[in-house]
C-alpha cells in the first residue's frame, strides 16, 4: 500500500488543533482569573469588606496585592498585625485576647526581610498598630537570609488611581505560554473532572470559565464565601475577614512519619536551609526586630516573635540529628539569648507537640492550621497572662520571665 503522507500531515494537524486549541481557549479564560489580576483582586477585596466572608483572591499564590488592600481597609479597626509568610496563615483572631484586634497580613512566600520592612512602615505610618506578631522561620530559611531588610511601602494601593484601574500586566504571549504550560493543563483536567462530577454541570462550567468568580455560597458554619481563584472552588478555602487562611480544601497530613523522614533527609529543603549559614540567624535582621519591639513598646504595645510550629516531633527529630541538631540548637539558643539580652517576647512553638498540637492539624511539615495555633497561643497567654492594654508589653514580658 502506498504510504499516505497527506493523510498523516492532516491527521497530525487535526490532533494538534483538537488538543491545543480547546486547552488554549479554556485556559485563557481562566488565566485572567489566576494570574495576579488587579481589577478582580479589587472586586474580591470589596466583596470581603462588604460581607466579612471568606474569599479566595484571583491568585492564591500571588496574594500580596489582595492582602495590602485588606490591611488598609482594616487599619482603622485593628491594633495588631501578624506578618510573615504562609506559615502564619493559621493565626486567627480567636488565638488572641479580645483587646488585641488583629489582621493577619501574612502573604505567600513573604520573606522575613520584607516582613521587617512592612512592620517598620506601619510603625512609621499607623499609630494605632501597637502589637506586631512576627514569625522567625528557620525551617523555610527566612531567618538565615543574607542582607538588609527591604524598604517597603504598605500604602493603600486602592488610593492610587493608576494601580486600582490597572489590568493584569501579563502580555498575551505570557498568557498563551501560561495557558499551555503543564501545571495549567493538569489543573484544567482537574477542573473538567470536577465539572463532570458536579450536579449542575452548566452552572459549574459557567462559574469556572465564564465568570471572574464563583457565585456566593454558604460554608458549614454559616459564613458566606466567594471564590475568585479557580483552584478550590466551592470548598470555603480562602482568607477569612481576619486575614487567616481556612485550609478547608487542603488535605491534612496523613503519614507524619514519612514526612519527617523526608524533612530530615540530607537533601530536603529544611536541611538545606539549616546549612545556609550553619544555623546562624542574620544579625542585621535581629537588630531591626529588636528595634521594632522597642518602638512598639514605646506606643504601649509590643512585639511577639514566634518560631512557628512544625509537624509534631519533627523539630525534635532535627534536634537529635548528629550535626543538623547542632545547627538548629545554634539557631534556637542564639534566638533565646538574643531575646533575653534585648528583653523580647519569644514564643518558641517549633515543637508543636508540647502545646498539644496533633499531626492532623498540619497540612505539611510547616503549615499549621488554626486549631494548632489556637492551642499554642492559649498556652502562651496562660503562661504570660493576657496583656494589659493599659500598660502594654511591660506586663507581658514580666509574666513571660
Amino acid at each position: 500500500m502506498k504510504p499516505d503522507h497527506k493523510r498523516y500531515v492532516w491527521l497530525m494537524a487535526f490532533c494538534f488543533f483538537c488538543s491545543i486549541v480547546p486547552i488554549l481557549v479554556l485556559n485563557l479564560f481562566m488565566v485572567n482569573g489566576s494570574l495576579e489580576n488587579k481589577p478582580n483582586t479589587l472586586l474580591a477585596s470589596q466583596w470581603q469588606a462588604n460581607t466579612q466572608g471568606i474569599v479566595s483572591p484571583p491568585s492564591v499564590l500571588e496574594n500580596a496585592f489582595f492582602k495590602l488592600l485588606r490591611l488598609n481597609d482594616r487599619l482603622p479597626d485593628i491594633n495588631t498585625v501578624v506578618f510573615g509568610s504562609s506559615t502564619s496563615y493559621g493565626i486567627t483572631q480567636e488565638a488572641f485576647p479580645s483587646g488585641m484586634r488583629l489582621y493577619n497580613f501574612s502573604k505567600n512566600a513573604n520573606p522575613l526581610g520584607y516582613a521587617i520592612g512592612e512592620a517598620e512602615y506601619l510603625l512609621d505610618h499607623s499609630q494605632n498598630i501597637k502589637w506586631f506578631v512576627i514569625p522567625l522561620d528557620w525551617s523555610i530559611g527566612f531567618i538565615y537570609e543574607e542582607g538588609d531588610p527591604q524598604q517597603v511601602s504598605a500604602a493603600d494601593p486602592a488610593m492610587s488611581k493608576t494601580i486600582s484601574i490597572e489590568a493584569s500586566k501579563a502580555t498575551w504571549l505570557q498568557k498563551i505560554q501560561d495557558s499551555l504550560s503543564y501545571p495549567r493543563i493538569a489543573g484544567l483536567f482537574q477542573l473538567l473532572k470536577s465539572i463532570y462530577a458536579a450536579e449542575q454541570k452548566y452552572s459549574a462550567f459557567r462559574q469556572i470559565f465564564l465568570q471572574p468568580s464563583s457565585d456566593e455560597y454558604l460554608c458549614r458554619d454559616g459564613t458566606i464565601a466567594k471564590d475568585f481563584d479557580i483552584q478550590h472552588r466551592n470548598t470555603c478555602t480562602g482568607f477569612r475577614f481576619d486575614g487567616s487562611w481556612t485550609y478547608a480544601g487542603h488535605e491534612q497530613v496523613g503519614n507524619a512519619r514519612a514526612l519527617i523522614m523526608a524533612a530530615t533527609a540530607s537533601n530536603s529543603r529544611y536541611t538545606r536551609n539549616l546549612l545556609k549559614t550553619n544555623g546562624e540567624p542574620n544579625p542585621v535582621f535581629l537588630r531591626h526586630l529588636a528595634a521594632i519591639a522597642r518602638r512598639a513598646e514605646e506606643r504601649g504595645g509590643g512585639a511577639i516573635f514566634v518560631l512557628p510550629p512544625l509537624l509534631v516531633n519533627m523539630e525534635n527529630e532535627f534536634l537529635q540529628h548528629p550535626w543538623l541538631g547542632v545547627y538548629l540548637q545554634k539557631t534556637k539558643q542564639g534566638l533565646a539569648r538574643w531575646a533575653e539580652q534585648e528583653q523580647l517576647t519569644l514564643l518558641d512553638a517549633g515543637q508543636s507537640e508540647r502545646f498539644g498540637c496533633k499531626a492532623e492539624e498540619f497540612i505539611d511539615q510547616h503549615h499549621a492550621t488554626a486549631a494548632c495555633y489556637n492551642k499554642i497561643f492559649t498556652g502562651f497567654w496562660q503562661n504570660t497572662g493576657e496583656p494589659n492594654m493599659a500598660v502594654g508589653n511591660a506586663r507581658l514580658r514580666a509574666t513571660q520571665k
Partner: protein, 528 residues
C-alpha cells in the same frame, strides 16, 4: 529565537513555511530570498546588532570566493593563494576578536602582570559555525571545487536558520545543489511528514529528556564553589547527569535542525549518530558532532598528518609515530577544544581526547608494533571497549562542564572516592529491608549533601537504557533518507511509516513537549 519556544513553533515556522512555498510558485529566487531573510530575522531576534556582522561576513567571503574563482580561471595561482590567505586570516581574526581576544589578553595579563583589556565583547551567536562554513567555501573555491556562485543561494547556505546557531557545519557541495534544485521548491507531503516527525522527536528529547535531567547537573557542578565536598555518588551522579543531558540536548537539537530543514525539502548532513554506543574513542568521534569532525579531518587533520608523515618518513619508529600521529592528533584536538570556547577547560578537554585518540590508534596499530595477529572483537571485548569509551567520555565531560579547574578537580576527587563512599541516608529508609541488609553488610549510609537523590538515579538508568537500546532517529526514519551521510544500518521493527499509529505517537510526543515548553532553556551548543 529558540526552536523550543512557542513563538518559533506556532508563529515563525508556519509563517516562513507558508511564505516559502507561496513565493516558490512565483519564483524560486524569491523563495530562496525569503528563506534567507527569514533566517536573518531568526538570527536578529537574539541581537539585531549582529545581523550586520553576519551579512558583512557573508558579503566579504562571497566576494573573496568569486575573486579566488576568477583568479583560478585565469590560472593566476599566486593571486589565488594570496586572496585565500587574506580571506582565511581575516575570518580567523574576526573569530579571534569576538571569541578569543579577552581569553588571550587575560592569559597575557596573568603571566606578565599587565592590565590589558578590550572591555566586554559579546560573542555573536553561531560565529564559529558561520566562520568555519565560509572558510570551507573559500578553500573549495581555491581548489576549484565550487560549481555555483549564486549570491542568494550562498547567503542562504550560510544563514540557513536550521543550522545557523548550533550546526551542523555545512558544506556547500551538499547544500548549494539542493538550493538550486527545482524539487526543493515544490511542497511535498512526504518531506513535511518526515520533517515534522523528526522535529517532534528532537523536541521531545530536548524539552523532556535533556531539560528533565538538567536540574540535577547544576547543583553538583556549583557545589564545589560553595565549599561543598562531593561524595562518590554525588560526583558520579552529577557527571553522568551532565553526560546524558549533553547527549539528549545535542541529539534533540540535531534532530530538530534536520526535521526543520526537511520541511523545506532540504536534507542536512548527519551530525549525531548514537555516539554513546561507540566501542572506541575513534568511533566516538565518528558519531559525535560528525560535521565538525569531518570538517576538521578534511581541512586540518589530513593536511597536517600528511605533512607530519612526510617529516617522519624514514626516521626511527618513535619519531615517525610522533610526527605522523601523536603531535598532529593532540594539536588538532587542542584546537577542537578551543573551538568550543575560550577557556583552558576546553583546551584540556581537547587535549584529553587527543591523548585518548592517540592511545586508541596505537592500540589498533599494536599488531604492527607488537606482532599481535588479531584484535579481540567478541562480545566481551566490545563490552569492555564500550565501558572504557563511555567512562572516558564521561570523565572528559566533567572538565567540559566545570566552570573552572578547581571545580573539575573537586568533582574528580569525588569520583575517585577521596571524600568517601557514603550512601545518602534517605535511601536507607526508601530501600527498606534491602537498605538494612546493605547496612548490615558494611555499606555506609549517612548524611550527604543531598545533591543526587533517587530522582536523579532514575533519570540516569532510564536514559542510559534509551541511549543503549533504543534505535536512533536515523534508524527510525531509515526508509526516508533522514540525513545526508547516514551509514548503512540494520532494519528495525520500529522503522517509521506514515500510519495512523505513528501519527498518534508523534502527536503525543509533540504534545507532551509543547505543554512543557514553558521551562524553555537555551541549547547548550548555542554557546559554542
Amino acid at each position: 529565537m529558540l526552536f523550543n519556544s512557542y513563538g518559533f513553533i506556532f508563529l515563525y515556522l508556519p509563517a516562513v513555511l507558508l511564505g516559502f512555498f507561496w513565493l516558490a510558485r512565483v519564483s524560486h529566487a524569491f523563495a530562496a530570498g525569503w528563506l534567507a531573510l527569514a533566517s536573518l530575522f531568526f538570527y536578529g531576534y537574539w541581537n539585531p546588532a549582529y545581523v550586520g556582522l553576519l551579512l558583512g561576513s557573508v558579503a566579504y567571503n562571497y566576494t573573496f570566493g568569486l575573486w579566488i574563482a576568477k583568479a583560478g580561471v585565469r590560472h593566476d595561482h599566486r593571486r589565488k593563494k594570496h586572496l585565500l590567505i587574506v580571506a582565511i586570516v581575516s575570518n580567523l581574526l574576526l573569530l579571534g576578536y569576538y571569541k578569543y581576544a579577552n581569553f588571550f589578553l587575560g592569559n597575557i595579563n596573568a603571566v606578565a602582570g599587565t592590565q590589558l583589556t578590550l572591555g566586554e565583547i559579546i560573542l555573536p551567536l553561531g560565529i564559529s559555525f558561520f566562520t568555519f562554513t565560509q572558510i570551507s567555501f573559500l578553500v573549495d573555491a581555491y581548489q576549484g571545487k565550487v560549481k555555483e556562485y549564486s549570491f542568494i543561494h550562498y547567503t542562504l547556505f550560510v544563514t540557513y536558520f536550521p543550522h545557523l546557531i548550533a550546526g551542523p557545519v555545512l558544506h556547500h557541495k551538499d547544500m548549494m545543489p539542493q538550493f538550486a534544485h527545482a524539487s526543493t521548491y515544490r511542497f511535498s507531503y512526504e518531506n513535511m511528514t518526515v520533517g515534522l516527525t523528526i522535529f517532534f522527536i528532537g523536541l521531545f528529547k530536548k524539552v523532556i529528556l535533556a531539560d528533565g535531567i538538567a536540574e540535577y547537573v547544576g547543583p553538583v557542578f556549583n557545589a564545589p564553589a560553595a565549599g561543598v565536598q562531593l561524595t562518590f555518588i554525588e560526583a558520579w551522579g552529577g557527571a553522568l547527569c551532565y553526560t546524558l543531558q549533553l547527549y539528549f540536548d545535542f541529539s534533540g537539537y540535531s534532530d530538530m535542525a534536520i526535521g526543520l530543514s526537511r520541511m523545506f525539502g532540504v536534507i542536512l548532513p548527519l551530525n549525531f549518530h548514537s555516539p554513546y554506543k561507540s566501542v572506541s574513542i575513534i568511533e566516538f568521534w565518528q558519531r559525535w558532532h560528525i560535521s565538525l569532525t569531518k570538517y576538521i579531518r578534511e581541512y586540518l587533520y589530513t593536511p597536517v598528518t600528511l605533512a607530519g608523515t612526510r617529516m617522519g618518513f624514514g626516521k626511527p619508529a618513535l619519531v615517525e609515530i610522533l610526527c605522523s600521529l601523536v603531535i598532529p592528533t593532540i594539536a588538532i584536538f587542542l584546537i577542537i577544544g578551543l573551538w568550543h570556547g575560550a577557556s583552558w577547560n576546553y583546551v584540556i578537554f581537547g587535549g584529553m581526547h587527543g591523548v585518548l585518540l592517540v592511545i586508541n590508534h596505537l592500540w589498533r596499530k599494536r599488531s604492527f608494533w607488537l606482532g599481535d595477529k588479531k584484535a579481540p572483537s567478541g562480545f566481551l571485548a566490545r563490552t569492555l571497549g564500550w565501558a572504557m569509551t563511555f567512562a572516558s567520555v564521561n570523565l572528559t565531560f566533567v572538565i567540559f562542564r566545570a566552570d573552572n579547574m578547581a571545580t573539575a578537580t573537586a568533582i574528580y576527587k569525588g569520583i575517585l572516592g577521596v571524600n568517601g563512599f557514603v550512601m545518602p541516608d534517605a535511601w536507607l529508609f526508601k530501600w527498606g529491608m534491602f537498605g538494612q541488609w546493605l547496612e548490615a553488610h558494611g555499606m555506609a549510609f549517612g548524611a550527604t549533601n543531598g545533591l543526587i537523590g533517587g530522582g536523579a538515579i532514575n533519570w540516569i538508568w532510564i536514559l542510559m537504557l534509551i541511549v543503549l537500546l533504543a534505535p536512533n532517529t536515523q534508524q527510525i526514519m531509515q526508509h526516508y533518507k533522514p540525513a545526508l551521510g547516514v551509514p548503512a544500518m540494520s532494519a528495525t521493527r520500529l522503522a517509521w511509516r506514515p500510519t495512523f499509529k505513528a501519527a498518534a505517537l508523534v502527536w503525543l510526543l509533540g504534545f507532551i513537549a509543547v505543554i512543557n515548553l514553558s521551562k524553555q532553556s537555551a541549547f547548550l551548543y548555542f554557546q559554542f
